[in-house]
Symmetry: C2
Subunit: 207 residues, 2 copies
């Protein structure tokens, strides 16, 4: 084997540099837009020449991919745990989950654009990054099932409401709370609706 005492130090240093590059990329994207990222600016910000970035990332899209993966990890680690949601009941759980989602997305619109909108031509997350992104979604679906929210289309309806509130907030009131204020009301509406549906399933009178 080629393992040696030096090896950890080296890869550690390499990973630290990669993280530094990704952090600088976030800053530039927040300033100039996601698609406005320039590798030359990025290199200058971390004290390199542009081509040197290629010893850390294979391409510009590879940098976007690292940013995407980091965003997914932040999302997964911040999302309320299933146990916590189960403890407070379905309606309060919906409110907590939706508040987290909207707050996470509106806190960094550029991150939202990268993670949830497919807006960079030619970029799509690598299979590895995509797998990370699905984890949070599946966590949500597990809680829905455990909480007894299982009307057909209920999960899809929930994601539509969550992204809709987020989208309107970011597009039409950036920095404000005009749609954030509606989260609780929207979850009341959603919860009443699925409860009514689950009590009187479609196509049946009360059995």
């Amino acid at each position: 084997m080629l393992a040696s005492p030096n090896r950890d130090r080296r890869t550690e240093r390499r990973e630290a540099t990669k993280a530094e590059i990704v952090d600088a990329a976030w800053e530039l994207c927040r300033a100039h837009g996601l698609a406005g990222l320039s590798l030359r600016d990025l290199a200058k910000k971390v004290g390199m020449q542009a081509p040197s970035l290629y010893s850390y990332f294979a391409s510009k899209n590879d940098i976007y991919d690292a940013m995407f993966a980091q965003g997914c990890r932040e999302f997964a680690s911040g999302q309320p745990a299933i146990d916590e949601l189960l403890a407070i009941g379905p309606l309060a759980g919906l409110k907590k989950l939706c508040h987290f989602f909207v707050a996470f997305c509106t806190a960094d619109p550029v991150r939202y654009q990268l993670m949830f909108q497919r807006t960079i031509p030619g970029f799509e997350p690598s299979p590895e990054s995509f797998a990370i992104s699905m984890a949070g979604m599946q966590e949500m679906l597990r809680w829905f099932e455990a909480a007894g929210i299982n009307a057909p289309g209920a999960a899809d309806m929930y994601t539509a409401i969550g992204t809709g509130l987020t989208d309107q907030q970011i597009s039409n009131d950036p920095g404000g709370d005009r749609w954030i204020r509606l989260v609780d009301d929207a979850m009341d509406m959603f919860f009443n609706h699925i409860q009514a549906k689950q009590q009187a399933p479609k196509g049946k009178r009360k059995r």
Copy 2:
């Protein structure tokens, strides 16, 4: 005055060429993404050299602006008229309006991206184009009022639901109908909710 019989012919021809350029731009954007538009490709498609485009449009963003305005006109002319909505009642009106919105947006995701998401760095619609874009929104608000839908936040909640269904449909099931199928159900949910709110206003018992 400089008006002359030739003048109309000239401006007509000029407008026709501008329209041809805009149509070609749409085609290229649908093929390569909104941000993937190249002026050289566009010029080639209409049989010009790249710099010649600048005698018709002041900049690339000016072309985006013309596309934006065209999209807004298409939206305004396709949107169901207030009288038609009033005739069928509030719930059926909500369903018709929302179906139109979702169908319009999903029919051309690139147009949706340009009109409803702010994703091109440095582009924002000119005041003239923006005025066109507000017309459709105000039409909707007038109908809401005429139909008696006036609970606080009701219009904001409606736009959130409409964009949310649209967004999920485009992002997660392009070309399909997984969220389009939920439009009627979502409008039932929304309508029940605002009816309940308007019958028992927040903060008051039944008066």
